[in-house]
C-alpha cells in the first residue's frame, strides 16, 4: 500500500522556498550586527536551525563561537553577543543576568536578541524591569514554517498546546495567522476555507484581517492550494491519546522523531554508535513503509532485502567492463539502499523487543475496548494494574485520560502515591484542559456561570460561556462515535494489507475522529448535516466555512487540501489522510501543524515542573 509514484496525484507546491526565505532572513538579521559575534542559541531552536542552515553559513556571517542558552554563566569573551531565542521569560532573565554582570564588571559589549518567530511584550517588559532595555537591541526572525517533508510543514511550537489549551493564552494565534498569510502570498489565496474549534476560528479571523490590511498582495494570484481546513486539537483528543501502530507513528512513539529526524541508538544500528537519521520522502525505504500498519512492514522489508540481494548477485559472471559499470553506476545506490534497509530492520527489531516487553498486545486490546465502549470494568482494572506495576507514569496518565474521555467520567486513581505527589498538579491541569472530564460538571458550572452572568457588563455575554467551555467540556465521544461511524463493523478479519478505510491506522478498530470530520466536511463542502456532531463537539459557534467564488481555481489546485492542526497532529492522522487522499478522488493532503505530537507529548505538556 506504499504510495511511491502516483501519476494521478496533483503536484505538491514547492515548499523548499520557505527554507530559503528563513535562511535569507536570518542572514539579514545577523548582518545587522556587523563584525565578529558569538551566537547563543536556545536548545529548542537548534534542530530547526540545523534544517535550514549550517555552521559554515553562520561562520560566513561572522559568527565566531556558538553557545547553547542554558542556565550557566557565559564564558564568551567576544565583544558582540547575539541571542537566538524563543520569546520566553526565562530567556530574558538569563540575558539580563548576563548583561547585568557585565555591567557590574564595567564591561561594555553589544547585545542583540533575535526572537523567533516573534517577540512578546511580556519579554520586553522583563528587559525593561531588569534595566537592560536599550542595552540590547531586539529583532524578530519570523521563521514559523519549517518544511519537514514534501507534504508536512511544522511551526515547531510544541508549547502552543499548553499555552492555548491549558492556559487559554492566545499569544500564538497571531503567529499562525502570519504563517497562513505567508503561505497565501507565496502559493496564492485559498478559495475554500473550513474550520472547527474556537482557536481555529480566531486564527482564521485574524488571518483575514491581515489579508485585508495588506490588500493586494495576493490579488491576481492563481490559487495553488484549493482548500484549507483548520482544526483545534481539543476537538479530538482521543485520536492523539491512542498508541500508534503505523510505522512512522510507532517510530515516533518509540524513539521520538524530533524535527523530522530520529536518533537511532546502538540497539538499532547494531554498532556501538548512535545515528541521527532524517526520516522523510527522500528515504526511499522509509517512504514506502511509513504509512503502513506495522504488521506489513516486516514482509515488505524482507521482500526488499531479497530484491537487493538479487541486485547484488547480478554481478556474478560479469566481465570486467560490466563490473566497472556496475560499480560506478549502481553500487552506490545499492549501498545506500542497503544502509537504509538495515537501519529500518534494526528499528523494527528494537520496536518489537520493546513492545513485547511492555505487553503491547494487552495494551492495544484495552485501548480498543475503550474506543468501542465494551468491557469497561476489565479495562479499568487493567489500567489500575498498569499503575500498580509502575510501568510508566506517562502511559498510565494517558490511559486514564482515554478512559475518562471515552467514558465521560472522572477516572482518577491514586496515581500520586505512585509517581510523586506533584501529580496532584498534573491532574488539575488535565481537568482544566478537558483531558480528564469531571464526573458532574453540570451543577458547579451553572453556579459559576450564573454568578458571572449577573456581573456581565459587556456585550459579549455569549463569550462568557465560551470561556467556560473547557471547564464544561463534557466529552460526548460515544455519541459522536456512533454518529460518525468511527468504529467500523467488520465481518471477520480486517485486512490490514488492503485497508478499506482510515481505521487501518488503528488496526481497523477506529477511524480517527479528526480525519473523519475532515473527510465529511470536504465531501459536503460544508457543515451541512453535521449540526448534531458539531453540537456534540461543543463547537456550535466555532464551525465555519468560507468559499470565495473563485473561478481562477484550477481543477488541479482543488485537489490539494491544506489541513492546519492547531495544537499538534500525530503521524497516524497524517497517514490516515494520506490514505484518504489517495482513495478518494486523487487528492493530496498537505499538513501544517504547530508541532508533531503524540500521546506522550500531550501528557508531558500537562505536567508541572519547577519554574
Amino acid at each position: 500500500m506504499a504510495f511511491p509514484h502516483r501519476p494521478d496525484a496533483p503536484e505538491l507546491p514547492d515548499f523548499s522556498m520557505l527554507k530559503r526565505l528563513a535562511r535569507d532572513q536570518l542572514i539579514y538579521l545577523l548582518e545587522q550586527l556587523p563584525g565578529k559575534k558569538d551566537l547563543f542559541i536556545e536548545a529548542d531552536l537548534m534542530s530547526p536551525l540545523d534544517r535550514i542552515a549550517n555552521v559554515s553559513i553562520l561562520k560566513q556571517h561572522e559568527v565566531d563561537k556558538l553557545y547553547k542558552v542554558e542556565n550557566k554563566p557565559a564564558l564568551s569573551s567576544n565583544e558582540q553577543l547575539c541571542f537566538l531565542v524563543r520569546p520566553r521569560i526565562k530567556n530574558m532573565r538569563y540575558i539580563a543576568s548576563l548583561v547585568n554582570s557585565d555591567k557590574l564588571a564595567g564591561r561594555t559589549r553589544k547585545y542583540k536578541v533575535i526572537f523567533s518567530p516573534q517577540k512578546f511584550y511580556a519579554c520586553e517588559m522583563v528587559l525593561e524591569e531588569e534595566g537592560i532595555y536599550g542595552d540590547v537591541s531586539c529583532d524578530e526572525w519570523a521563521f514559523s514554517l519549517l518544511p519537514l517533508d514534501v507534504d508536512l510543514l511544522s511551526m515547531e511550537l510544541p508549547e502552543f498546546f499548553r499555552d492555548y489549551f491549558l492556559e487559554g493564552d492566545q499569544r500564538w494565534i497571531n503567529t499562525v495567522a502570519q504563517a497562513l498569510h505567508l503561505l497565501s502570498t507565496l502559493y496564492g489565496p485559498f478559495p475554500n476555507c473550513y474550520g472547527i474549534g474556537r482557536c481555529a476560528k480566531m486564527a482564521y479571523e485574524l488571518w483575514r484581517n491581515l489579508e485585508e490590511e495588506e490588500d493586494g498582495e495576493t490579488k491576481g494570484r492563481r490559487p495553488e492550494i484549493g482548500h484549507i481546513f483548520l482544526l483545534d486539537r481539543d476537538v479530538d483528543f482521543v485520536t492523539a491519546l491512542c498508541s500508534q501502530v503505523v510505522y512512522e507513528g510507532l517510530v515516533d512513539d518509540t524513539f521520538r522523531i524530533k524535527c523530522g529526524s530520529v536518533d537511532f541508538g546502538p540497539e538499532v544500528t547494531s554498532s556501538d554508535k548512535s545515528l541521527k537519521v532524517l526520516l522523510n520522502a527522500e528515504d526511499k525505504v522509509f517512504n514506502e513503509i511509513r504509512n503502513e500498519h506495522f504488521s506489513n512492514v516486516f514482509g515488505f522489508l524482507s521482500q526488499k532485502a531479497r530484491n537487493l540481494q538479487a541486485q547484488y548477485d547480478r554481478r556474478r559472471g560479469m566481465d570486467i567492463k560490466q563490473m566497472k559499470n556496475f560499480v560506478s553506476q549502481e553500487l552506490k545506490g545499492l549501498k545506500q539502499e542497503h544502509r537504509l534497509l538495515s537501519l529500518h530492520i534494526g528499528a523494527c527489531e528494537s520496536i518489537m523487543k520493546k513492545k513485547t516487553k511492555q505487553d503491547f498486545q494487552e495494551l492495544i486490546k484495552t485501548e480498543h475496548a475503550l474506543l468501542e465502549g465494551f468491557n469497561i470494568r476489565e479495562s479499568t482494572s487493567y489500567i489500575e494494574e498498569h499503575i500498580d506495576r509502575q510501568v510508566s507514569p506517562i502511559e498510565s496518565l494517558r490511559l486514564m485520560c482515554l478512559l475518562s474521555i471515552t467514558e465521560n467520567g472522572d477516572a482518577r486513581c491514586s496515581l500520586d502515591t505512585h509517581y510523586g505527589p506533584e501529580h496532584l498538579l498534573t491532574f488539575s491541569n488535565l481537568r482544566r484542559a478537558g483531558l480528564l472530564t469531571e464526573q458532574a460538571p453540570g451543577d458547579t458550572l451553572t453556579a459559576v456561570e450564573s454568578k458571572v452572568s449577573k456581573l456581565v457588563t459587556d456585550k459579549a455575554a455569549g463569550k462568557i460561556t465560551d470561556a467556560f467551555s473547557s471547564l464544561a467540556k463534557r466529552s460526548n465521544f460515544r455519541a459522536i462515535s456512533k454518529k460518525l461511524n468511527l468504529i467500523p463493523r467488520v465481518d471477520g478479519e480486517y485486512d490490514l494489507k488492503v485497508p478499506r478505510d482510515m481505521a487501518y491506522v488503528f488496526s481497523g478498530a477506529y477511524v480517527p475522529l479528526s480525519c473523519r470530520i475532515i473527510e465529511q466536511v470536504l465531501e459536503r463542502r460544508s457543515w451541512q448535516g453535521l449540526d448534531e456532531v458539531v453540537r456534540l463537539l461543543n463547537c456550535s459557534d466555532f464551525a465555519f466555512t468560507d468559499m470565495t467564488k473563485e473561478d481562477k481555481a484550477s481543477s488541479e489546485s482543488l485537489r490539494l487540501i491544506l489541513v492546519v492542526f492547531l495544537g499538534g497532529c500525530t503521524f497516524s492522522e497524517i497517514s490516515a489522510l494520506r490514505f484518504l487522499g489517495r482513495e478518494k478522488g486523487k487528492r493530496e493532503f498537505i499538513f501544517l501543524t504547530t508541532a508533531v505530537t503524540n500521546s506522550a507529548r500531550l501528557m508531558e505538556a500537562m505536567s508541572e515542573v519547577k519554574a
Binding site: S16, M17, V126, R171, E205, V277, Q309, L341, A369, L455
Partner: protein
C-alpha cells in the same frame, strides 16, 4: 473486536527474525566479496568519496537556484525599483552596512520601508544573491558525518578573541510616539510589533475599551501588552473587578502572572475571585521551587489545611508526612552508610537519596534496606504501609520486587505463605501468581524458584505458557503428564537438550505403562 495486532504478534516475530538473519548474513558476505573485488582489481582509482557527492550537491543547488528564478523574475515590480539596490546583491554584508548607515538619519517612511522589506512577503520578491551560500539540497540527510557540520555539534565553550566593530542603530529601538491613535489603531499597531505608547489611555473607560479591542482582535500578545499597562496603572481591586467579567483577558493575566512568577498578585487574584481550590494549588505549586528539604517540609506544612478538595487534602497531608519521614530516614541511613558497619549498605550502596521520592519508591527502599525492622521504626515497611494506607496488592508487589532483587527467596516465600487457624500453611498471592512469576523472572530468579511459583498458577493454560516461556521443564513435563497429553509431551521432547535429565524424564514417562494417555 479486530485482532490485527495480535495476528502480527503471532506471525511477525519469526518473520522479523528471519529477515534480520537473512540480511545480516548475506550482506556480510556481500561486503566481503566487495572488498575482495577491490583488492584484486586494478580499478583503485574509482572511489566514492565526498567529491562526487559535492558535485551532485552543486548541480542540485544550481537547479534549485534556476527554478527559483522564474518566481523571482515574475514578481519583480516597480515598487522595489524605487529602492536603491543598484544591482548589488541584497543581503550581502556590504549592502547591509550601507543600508544601515544610509538610513541612520532618515525619515519615518524610510524606516518603514526597510522594515517592510524585511517582512517575508516583500522579501520574497527581492533578487537573490546566488553565490554566497550554497543551496544544499533540501530534504537531504547528512550522508557522511563531517560533510555537514551540525549546529549542535559545533557548540563550544572555548573563549574567543575579542573584536569590536561599529554597529548601526538597531531598528528595534525605533519608536513611535504619536499620541492620537484610536484604541483600535493602537491595538493594530501593537499587533504589528510596534512600540506604541499607551500612556494617553488614562480614563478607566479608555483603558477598558483598549482591552476590549485587544480581546476582539484575538492576539494574546497584544492582550497581555494591554494588561501589563492596566496592571501598572490601575489599583488591583479595580483591575480584578474588571477582569472578573472579562474571562479571556483574565486568563491571560493569570498566565502572565504565572510566567513572570508574581505569585503574590496571583494569589491575591484567586482570593478576590474566590477560586479557593486554584488558590490552594497555586500556593502548593511553589514547593517545586524549594530545594532544601527542611524548608520544603516547612512549606508543605503551610499547605496542609488549605481549601483543597477533600481528596487532594489527604494527599497534601501525606506529602508532608512522607517528606518528614524521608528526612529522618535519609539522615539515619546516610550515617549508617558512611559508618560502613552495616552489611546491606556495604553490599548495596545507595544510588540516590530517598528525599522527594514518591511513596512507592520509598516503600521499595524500605523493603530493600529496612525489611526486618520492627513496626515501631519510621523506616519499617509495615509502618509505611499503615501510615499511608497502602493497599495489600501494592505492598506485596513492591516487597516482592525488592526482596527478589536481593535474591532473598526466603522472604519471597514468606510473603505468600499464610497459616490458617489449624496451623496449615497455604500459598496465597493477592496479585496472582502469574504476576509473581513475571516479577521473579525479571529479577533473574533461578529456575528452581521460578518453578515453584509457576506451579502455583491455577489456570493450566497460563501455567503451561509461563513454564514454556521461562523454561521450567519439569512443570511443563508434569503438566502434560497430568493432562495425559502424549502428543504434546512428544513435541516438547525436541525442545529440551539432548541427553539432559529432562529428556530422560520424558522418555521414562513416554515408556511408562502406568499412564493412560488420552492421545
Amino acid at each position: 473486536t479486530t485482532t490485527g495486532l495480535i495476528v502480527f504478534f503471532q506471525s511477525g516475530r519469526p518473520l522479523g527474525a528471519g529477515v534480520r538473519l537473512g540480511l545480516g548474513l548475506r550482506m556480510n558476505r556481500t561486503k566481503g566479496d566487495e572488498e575482495e573485488y577491490w583488492n584484486s582489481s586494478k580499478f583503485k582509482a574509482f572511489t566514492f568519496d565526498d567529491e562526487d557527492d559535492e558535485l551532485s550537491q552543486l548541480k542540485e543547488s544550481k537547479r534549485a537556484v534556476n527554478s527559483l528564478r522564474d518566481f523571482v523574475d515574475d514578481d519583480d515590480d516597480d515598487d522595489l525599483e524605487r529602492v536603491s539596490w543598484s544591482g548589488e546583491p541584497v543581503g550581502s554584508i556590504s549592502w547591509s552596512i550601507r543600508e544601515t548607515a544610509g538610513n541612520s538619519g532618515s525619515t519615518h517612511e524610510g524606516r518603514e520601508q526597510l522594515k517592510s522589506r524585511n517582512s517575508f512577503s516583500s522579501y520574497a520578491q527581492l533578487p537573490k544573491p546566488t553565490s554566497t551560500y550554497s543551496l544544499s539540497s533540501f530534504f537531504r540527510g547528512r550522508t557522511r558525518p563531517g560533510s555537514f557540520q551540525s549546529l549542535s555539534d559545533a557548540l563550544s565553550d572555548t573563549p574567543a578573541k575579542s573584536y569590536a566593530p561599529e554597529l548601526g542603530r538597531p531598528k528595534g529601538e525605533y519608536r513611535d510616539y504619536s499620541n492620537d491613535w484610536s484604541p483600535s489603531d493602537t491595538v493594530r499597531r501593537l499587533r504589528k510589533g510596534k512600540v506604541c505608547s499607551l500612556e494617553r489611555f488614562r480614563s478607566l473607560q479608555d483603558k477598558l475599551q483598549l482591552l476590549e479591542e485587544a480581546v476582539s482582535m484575538h492576539d494574546g500578545n497584544v492582550i497581555t501588552a494591554v494588561l501589563i499597562f492596566l496592571k501598572r496603572t490601575l489599583s488591583k481591586e479595580i483591575l480584578f473587578r474588571e477582569l472578573e467579567v472579562r474571562q479571556v483577558a483574565l486568563r491571560h493575566l493569570i498566565h502572565f502572572l504565572k510566567e513572570i512568577g508574581d505569585q503574590k498578585l496571583l494569589l491575591d487574584l484567586f482570593r478576590f475571585l474566590d477560586r479557593t481550590e486554584e488558590l490552594a494549588l497555586s500556593h502548593y505549586r511553589e514547593h517545586l521551587n524549594i530545594q532544601d528539604p527542611d524548608k520544603r517540609k516547612e512549606f508543605l506544612k503551610t499547605c496542609v489545611g488549605l481549601p483543597f478538595s477533600a481528596e487532594d487534602s489527604a494527599h497534601i497531608q501525606d506529602h508532608y508526612t512522607l517528606l518528614e519521614r524521608q528526612i529522618i530516614i535519609e539522615a539515619n541511613d546516610r550515617h549508617l552508610e558512611s559508618a560502613g558497619q552495616t552489611e546491606i549498605f556495604r553490599k548495596h550502596p545507595r544510588k540516590a537519596s530517598i528525599l522527594n521520592m514518591p511513596l512507592v519508591t520509598t516503600l521499595f527502599y524500605s523493603c530493600f534496606y529496612h525489611y526486618t525492622e520492627a513496626e515501631g521504626t519510621f523506616s519499617s515497611p509495615i509502618n509505611l504501609k499503615k501510615t499511608f494506607k497502602i493497599p495489600d496488592k501494592q505492598y506485596v508487589l513492591t516487597a516482592l520486587a525488592a526482596r527478589a532483587k536481593l535474591r532473598a527467596w526466603n522472604d519471597v516465600d514468606a510473603l505468600f505463605t499464610t497459616k490458617n487457624w489449624l496451623g496449615y500453611t497455604k500459598k496465597r498471592a493477592p496479585i496472582g501468581f502469574h504476576r509473581v512469576v513475571e516479577i521473579l523472572h525479571k529479577n533473574n530468579a533461578p529456575v528452581q524458584i521460578l518453578q515453584e511459583y509457576v506451579n502455583l498458577v491455577e489456570d493450566v493454560d497460563t501455567k503451561l505458557n509461563l513454564a514454556t516461556k521461562f523454561k521450567c521443564h519439569d512443570v511443563v513435563i508434569d503438566t502434560y503428564r497430568d493432562l495425559k497429553d502424549r502428543q504434546q509431551l512428544l513435541a516438547y521432547r525436541s525442545k529440551v537438550d539432548k541427553g539432559s535429565a529432562e529428556e530422560e524424564k520424558i522418555d521414562a514417562l513416554l515408556s511408562s505403562s502406568q499412564i493412560r494417555w488420552k492421545n
